[in-house]
């Protein structure tokens, strides 16, 4: 476990991990719809969004890993759940489509503001990566907006938005659902002896 090192990291790594953890956990949660989304086209689309988010997480972990002398995989999978920096919003297992789309919309809205700030950062490497990620997120935002426009007058969707909105950006402690996901997410990796190369 790399945890002792990661309790005290500099601001840059802290922010990289925060975003990477958000993207990784949301990517996993979104991917839970693969095969069971409301219809086939959306299944392909939403799975692809999930895959993009995990790709963004990898790129961010790589930046942090270089600074910490670790690998992206170690950062993604070898920390205990308590050391993750993700927001509670992304941790929840949401088996209803209206909640999933509400979270997707709220996340993209918040993520856009964060990426906009990072793109203007003096840290050229970080700003460059943020710009790259943002070019993909643009399509995620289009997707979230389309669903929002379609569902905005549906009471179930409105209720889901109201329910989830207070969780945006809340990072003080985690939900039990993060630990459940972590167990699944790291199962294969933990089943291998230390030093296994993948």
């Amino acid at each position: 476990m790399v945890s002792p090192v990661l309790r005290h990291v500099n601001e840059r790594v802290e922010l990289l991990l925060e975003i990477a953890d958000d993207e990784l956990i949301l990517g996993w949660r979104d991917s839970e719809w693969t095969g069971i989304a409301p219809f086939l086209e959306e299944d392909v689309a939403f799975s692809s969004i999930a895959q993009n988010e995990i790709g963004h997480a990898r790129a961010l972990y790589e930046l942090a890993a270089r600074e910490l002398g670790k690998t992206a995989d170690e950062l993604a999978f070898d920390r205990p759940p308590a050391d993750y920096r993700c927001a509670r919003l992304v941790e929840l297992r949401l088996p209803s489509w209206e909640h999933t789309i509400a979270r997707h919309y709220l996340y993209e809205e918040a993520d856009a503001i964060r990426l906009e700030q990072l793109k203007a950062s003096a840290d050229a490497e970080f700003a460059g990566l943020a710009a790259k990620i943002d070019r993909e997120e643009l399509y995620h935002r289009m997707h979230a907006q389309m669903w929002f426009d379609r569902l905005e007058n549906e009471p179930r969707f409105v209720a889901a938005l109201d329910e989830l909105r207070p969780l945006v950006g809340v990072r003080d402690g985690h939900t039990p659902e993060l630990t459940e996901l972590w167990v699944e997410m790291t199962m294969v990796r933990r089943s291998q002896p230390a030093g296994t190369t993948w």
Partner: protein, 95 residues
């Protein structure tokens, strides 16, 4: 709604039918078409058309069997060859 998707593989090439996507409206159709036919760099451009906007023509009446309208049954190749030989401009080298 079904949208038909046509794909251009390289600039300047003709668009070819790639498949179809089911979507509730045009923005969704655009997104799904991009996702299924464009994200791997396999397309230069796409045309996304609502199936109902396509004018289908399926019946070609030829009651009087006017086969002179058809392009089959008139082998030009042999006739050209003969004509070239007569004119002495055969593309085949004389031995």
């Amino acid at each position: 709604m079904i949208y038909e998707v046509f794909r251009q593989e390289r600039k300047g090439q003709a668009f070819q039918h790639a498949g179809s996507v089911e979507a509730p409206d045009e923005p969704f159709a655009e997104w799904y078409a991009r996702e299924q036919f464009g994200r791997r760099g396999e397309s230069e451009a796409l045309w996304v058309v609502a199936r109902e906007s396509i004018l289908p023509i399926e019946d070609f009446v030829d009651e009087l069997n006017r086969n002179y309208h058809r392009v089959d049954g008139y082998p030009l190749k042999e006739k050209l060859k003969e004509a070239r030989e007569r004119a002495g401009t055969s593309t085949q080298k004389a031995t």
